[in-house]
C-alpha cells in the first residue's frame, strides 16, 4: 500500500483500524483523499471535501468526541465511494446520482417496460435469491434496531443489505429497485449519523422500504416468467417520503435538521416507541461501551466482520453482480441437487450393506477385506449423518418473519406486544420449514387477534399493559415442538360450549371434559371471535392449522386458562423424509407400518376371538372389543397366515377407529426414507408411500387410516356396518 496511490477502499479500511488520536495516520488519509479528489467527479469531490474538513477538526484535537467524528468521516468516505460507483456505472438506464431531482415521477409508473434486455436470467434469479436473503436479514435487523435504536450492528446490517441491493440492481439495470435502495440508504444514513432514531414513524418508513423492496423483487421474479413488470402501488409516495429529509441536504451540518420527523406521515400512534423505550433504557446501561462506538466505523482493531465487509464489498459488489459476497462461509446449492445427493448417499448405504452381507466378505477367510469393509462402513455412516445434517436448517428465518408479523399486527390492532422468541436455532428439515410457516402464522394471528387484550383492558385486569407473545421452539424426543403462548384472555369454556350448542355439535347440558371442549376450537367453521376482522374470525381457522400439521405427521395441542392466556404447541417430526417403521410380513410381501401408528401387537388367544353376524371378526383385548382386519385379504396376498392365533395382531388407530390388523409376523424395526410411488400410480388406498429396504427391494409404507377405510368399504355391504365397535 503506497502512500501516493491510496484508493477509497484502502482509506475505508484504514479508517476502521485507526485510533482517533493517531494524527500521523490521519494526515496520511487526508493526503490520500486529496489525491483521489483531484481525479474524481464533482459529487465525489464534495463528499471528500467534507471528510477532509472533519479530519482537520480532529487534527485540531478540539473535538470532544473524536470517535463520533471518525465515524462521520467514515460516512463521507462511504458516500464518496457510492458516488464513484455511480459515476462509473452512469451509463444505462438510470443512475441514482440524480438524487437532487425529486422522484422520477414516471407518467406510466404503474407499468414500466419489461426487463432490461441485457439482463441475463441466470443472473437475475441469483439476484432474486440473494435479495430475499438480504431483505430477510434487514428486516430482522430493523426489528432489533427498533427495540434498541443504539444497536449499531443492526443498523449496519440494514445498511449493508440496501447497499448491496443497490449495487447489484444498478448493474442489472433494475432502476426501480436501485432508486428505492438508494433513497432508503440515504434515509438510513441519517439514522446512522444519529440525526434521527429508528423508532416510531421512522421505523415505519424503514419497514415500508423493506416491504417495497420485497414487492419489487417479486415483480422481477414474476418478470422472469414473462409477466410485465408492475411497479407496486405507493412506490412514488414512498420515494417522496424517503427523499424529503434528503432535500435539506445531507452534507449540511447534521445537527440542524433534527425535526425531520414531522415530514414522515406515519400511523399516529407511538405505541411502539413507548414500548421500546423501557427496554432501551435497560439495554443502555448494559451496553454502554457499545453505544459509544461510532456507527460508521469500528475503532481499534475490533474484528467484527460487518464494517470490514463494507469496505471490501462496496466497490466489488456491483461489478461481480453479487455473485460472491466476501467472507461468505456458505454456498448456495440447488435443492434438487441436494436431494439427489441425499438420495444417492441413501443408496450408497444400501449398496454398502450388500457388500457387508456378501458371502466372500463374511466367510472369515479374508480378515483384511473384512476390516476394509468395516472401515468404509464407518465412512458411509458418517456421510449419511452429514447428509441428514445438511437437510436441517434452523427455524430462525421463520421466527423472524413471525416477529415482523407480530409487530405489524400489534400496530394495526393498537395493542402492545412483547414478542419473545426462544430457540431460534432449533433445526428442522428444510422441506418442513415452508410447510410449518402457515400454521404458525395462523396461531400467532389468533393469539394477537383473540388472545391479547387492549392495553386498557389489560390494565383493568391488573396485567402489564403490554401482552407477551412467546414463541418457543425446542427438540423433544425426536420431535420439534413449537409453542405459541400468549398471556391474553385465554379460551372461554362457556363461549365455546355456547358456540358448540349453536352449531349443533353438542346438546345443552351434556357433560364434557375440558379437553373435549377445548378441542371444539379445531372444528371447521368454529370461531369464538365476536367480530370479523381481516386477521381472523372468518371461521377459517384452527381446523386448517390442525389439518396442515397432521399432514406433516404432527400434532397440535392446546392448553388454556381463562384470563391467563393460551398455549398452542405444535409437535412435528424432525423430518418427513425418515419414517420409523416396523417391518411386517404378510405372505410373500413385506410392509412398513409407521411406529407412531402402532399401539401394540399381540398374538391372540383363541377365546378372545369371536365373530359378529358370522362374518365380522372381532377380538377382545384388555376388555375392549375391536374389529380384525386381515391385511392379506385387503391386499389380496396369497400364502399368508390365515389363523389369527398363529399370526400377529397389531392394534392401530385411535378412539373408535381402533382396529387390529392381522399380519404374519414382525420382521424388525427399520428407519426408512419415504418416497413417492413411481409416476402415474397416484393414490393407492392403504399405502402412503414406498421405501427402499435394506435388501434393495421396494417396501410399501402402510397408511392405517386408509386401511381402516378400505376395510370398511369391503365389509359394509355385507355386514351392515357391524364391523365398527
Amino acid at each position: 500500500m503506497t502512500d501516493e496511490k491510496l484508493t477509497l477502499d484502502d482509506i475505508a479500511a484504514l479508517l476502521l483500524q485507526i485510533e482517533p488520536t493517531n494524527l500521523a495516520e490521519l494526515a496520511n488519509i487526508r493526503r490520500g483523499l486529496k489525491a483521489i479528489a483531484e481525479s474524481s467527479s464533482i459529487s465525489v469531490q464534495r463528499s471528500i471535501a467534507e471528510a477532509i474538513t472533519r479530519i482537520d477538526q480532529m487534527e485540531g484535537g478540539k473535538d470532544p468526541d473524536p470517535a463520533g467524528l471518525l465515524c462521520r468521516i467514515g460516512a463521507f468516505i462511504e458516500e464518496a465511494m457510492n458516488a464513484t460507483e455511480e459515476s462509473a456505472l452512469e451509463a444505462p438506464p438510470f443512475s441514482p446520482t440524480e438524487q437532487d431531482s425529486p422522484v422520477r415521477s414516471n407518467p406510466e409508473a404503474g407499468c414500466s417496460n419489461a426487463l432490461p434486455l441485457e439482463a441475463d436470467s441466470a443472473l437475475l434469479s441469483e439476484f432474486i435469491t440473494e435479495n430475499r436473503d438480504l431483505i430477510a436479514g434487514a428486516e430482522t435487523a430493523l426489528l432489533k434496531l427498533e427495540a434498541d435504536p443504539e444497536n449499531a450492528e443492526a443498523l449496519h446490517t440494514v445498511f449493508r443489505a440496501f447497499h448491496t441491493i443497490k449495487g447489484t440492481s444498478v448493474f442489472l439495470g433494475l432502476d426501480h429497485i436501485s432508486t428505492l435502495a438508494h433513497r432508503a440508504e440515504s434515509f438510513l444514513s441519517r439514522i446512522r449519523d444519529k440525526e434521527i432514531r429508528c423508532v416510531g414513524g421512522y421505523a415505519d418508513l424503514a419497514f415500508r422500504s423493506v416491504d417495497m423492496l420485497k414487492d419489487l423483487t417479486q415483480t422481477v421474479h414474476d418478470a422472469l416468467s414473462g409477466k410485465p413488470i408492475i411497479v407496486p402501488g405507493g412506490f412514488d409516495d414512498l420515494m417522496v417520503l424517503l427523499t424529503e429529509p434528503e432535500a435539506a441536504g445531507i452534507s449540511e451540518d447534521v445537527c440542524e435538521r433534527g425535526d425531520g420527523a414531522a415530514e414522515v406521515p406515519s400511523l399516529p400512534d407511538d405505541l411502539l416507541a413507548t414500548q421500546a423505550n423501557p427496554r432501551r433504557e435497560g439495554r443502555k446501561t448494559a451496553v454502554t461501551d457499545q453505544t459509544d462506538q461510532p456507527a460508521g466505523g469500528v475503532p481499534e482493531g475490533t474484528k467484527t466482520p460487518s464494517p470490514t465487509e463494507i469496505g471490501q464489498t462496496l466497490q466489488k459488489q456491483p461489478r461481480t453482480a453479487g455473485s460472491e459476497t466476501a467472507a461468505e462461509s456458505s454456498v448456495r446449492v440447488r435443492t434438487d441437487r441436494l436431494d439427489r445427493l441425499i438420495e444417492m448417499v441413501g443408496e450408497l448405504v444400501i449398496g454398502h450393506s450388500m457388500v457387508v452381507q456378501d458371502n466372500t466378505v463374511n466367510s472369515g477367510n479374508y480378515p483384511d477385506l473384512q476390516q476394509k469393509v468395516s472401515h468404509t462402513g464407518k465412512i458411509v455412516r458418517q456421510m449419511q449423518d452429514l447428509c441428514m445434517a445438511i437437510r436441517m436448517v434452523p427455524l430462525k428465518a421463520t421466527i423472524h418473519k413471525i416477529a415482523r408479523l407480530v409487530r405489524d399486527l400489534a400496530r394495526r390492532q393498537k395493542i402492545m406486544i412483547n414478542f419473545i422468541a426462544v430457540g431460534e436455532d432449533t433445526e428442522i428439515d428444510r422441506n418442513m420449514v415452508d410447510l410449518i410457516n402457515d400454521p404458525l402464522v395462523h396461531l400467532v394471528r389468533n393469539a394477537v387477534d383473540h388472545g391479547i387484550e387492549s392495553p386498557e383492558d389489560r390494565e383493568k385486569k391488573g396485567k402489564p399493559r403490554a401482552g407477551t407473545l412467546l414463541l418457543k421452539a425446542y427438540h423433544s424426543g425426536g420431535n420439534v415442538v413449537v409453542e405459541v403462548s400468549d398471556d391474553g384472555k385465554g379460551l372461554d369454556r362457556n363461549k365455546i360450549i355456547q358456540k358448540a350448542i349453536a352449531k349443533g355439535l353438542i346438546q345443552p347440558g351434556q357433560n364434557m371434559s375440558d379437553s373435549e371442549i377445548i378441542n371444539f376450537i379445531f372444528e371447521p367453521g368454529f370461531s369464538t371471535a365476536d367480530k370479523v376482522t381481516d386477521l381472523s374470525g372468518r371461521g377459517v381457522g384452527l381446523d386448517v392449522v390442525r389439518k396442515a400439521v397432521e399432514t406433516l405427521r404432527g400434532r397440535v395441542d392446546v392448553s388454556s386458562e381463562v384470563g391467563q392466556g393460551c398455549t398452542f404447541s405444535v409437535r412435528l417430526p424432525l423430518t418427513m423424509a425418515i419414517t420409523d417403521g416396523m417391518l411386517v410380513k404378510v405372505g410373500n410381501q413385506r410392509y412398513i407400518l409407521p411406529t407412531v401408528n402402532i399401539d401394540m401387537s399381540f398374538r391372540p388367544d383363541p377365546e378372545a376371538l369371536s365373530t359378529v353376524a358370522g362374518r365380522a371378526e372381532t377380538v377382545i383385548f384388555k376388555g375392549k372389543l375391536m374389529p380384525i382386519f386381515r391385511l392379506h385379504r385387503l391386499f389380496d396376498i396369497k400364502e399368508a397366515v390365515e389363523d389369527p392365533t398363529s399370526g400377529l395382531l397389531i392394534i392401530i388407530g385411535e378412539g373408535n377407529q381402533r382396529c387390529a390388523l392381522l399380519v404374519d409376523e414382525l420382521v424388525g424395526q427399520q428407519q426408512v426414507v419415504a418416497k413417492s410411488l413411481g409416476d402415474g400410480i397416484g393414490n393407492v388406498q392403504g399405502i402412503s408411500g414406498g421405501a427402499i429396504l435394506g435388501d434393495g427391494r421396494v417396501g410399501l409404507i402402510l397408511d392405517p387410516q386408509g386401511i381402516a377405510a378400505l376395510a370398511r368399504q369391503t365389509l359394509e355391504p355385507r355386514t351392515a356396518g357391524k364391523a365398527t365397535c
Binding site: G678, V684, I692, G696
Partner: protein
C-alpha cells in the same frame, strides 16, 4: 438401406417438399426393439433412459391390472407397466430374459416390462405406417404405428400414451 433411401427420396418428391428437409438419411430414428410373446415392438431410443434386469418387483395392492408394481432403480422408485397387459397378451411370470425398459417423456417416467430386449436399430421414419385397422382401437392407441423391416413387423410403442394411461 440404399433401397430405403431411394424410396424416401421418391416420397419426398411426391409430397412436393412440404418441409424443407435437409437430407432423407437424417429422417431415421434409433429404436430399441423388444419382444412380447412372439411379437416385436420398438420404442424410440431418445425416450429410453435405461434397460435394467427384472429384479424383485414389489406388487401394489388394488392397483390397475397393467401396473406390474414398483422397483428400486438406484434409490429411485420406478413404476413398472406390464406391456403384455397393455396389449392384451396373456400374462406370464417374467423369465431370465425379461427386462424393464425405463422410459420417460416430459416429467413422467415408467418402466416397461418386456419379455426380451433384442437390439437397437435405425428405422426410417417414413417407413412407419399408421396402426393397422385390424388392431382393436383400445390397443391401437398405445401404438404410433408399425413398420415392416426386412419382413419383420415391428410395432412402435407410443410412450406418451402409455404414460398417460398411468397418470
Amino acid at each position: 438401406m440404399t433401397e430405403d433411401t431411394a424410396e424416401a427420396v421418391e416420397d419426398m418428391d411426391s409430397y412436393e417438399n412440404l418441409f424443407d428437409r435437409i437430407s432423407p438419411t437424417e429422417n431415421t430414428s434409433q429404436f430399441v426393439v423388444f419382444r412380447l410373446t412372439r411379437e416385436w415392438y420398438g420404442v424410440e431410443i431418445t425416450k429410453v433412459k435405461e434397460v435394467v434386469k427384472v429384479d424383485r418387483i414389489t406388487s401394489l395392492p388394488s392397483s390397475p391390472e397393467h401396473i406390474a408394481g414398483i422397483v428400486n432403480l438406484r434409490g429411485y422408485i420406478l413404476s413398472v407397466t406390464n406391456l403384455r397387459t397393455v396389449f392384451g397378451l396373456p400374462y406370464e411370470e417374467p423369465t431370465e430374459k425379461a427386462r424393464i425398459i425405463a422410459v420417460e417423456s416430459g416429467v413422467l417416467e415408467t418402466g416397461l416390462l418386456v419379455d426380451e430386449v433384442v437390439e437397437s436399430i435405425e428405422i426410417p421414419l417414413n417407413k412407419i405406417e399408421a396402426a393397422l385397422l385390424t388392431i382393436p382401437p383400445e390397443r391401437a392407441k398405445y401404438l404410433e404405428g408399425q413398420c415392416n423391416l426386412d419382413g419383420r413387423l415391428i410395432a412402435v410403442v407410443n410412450v406418451e400414451k402409455i404414460l398417460e394411461k398411468r397418470a
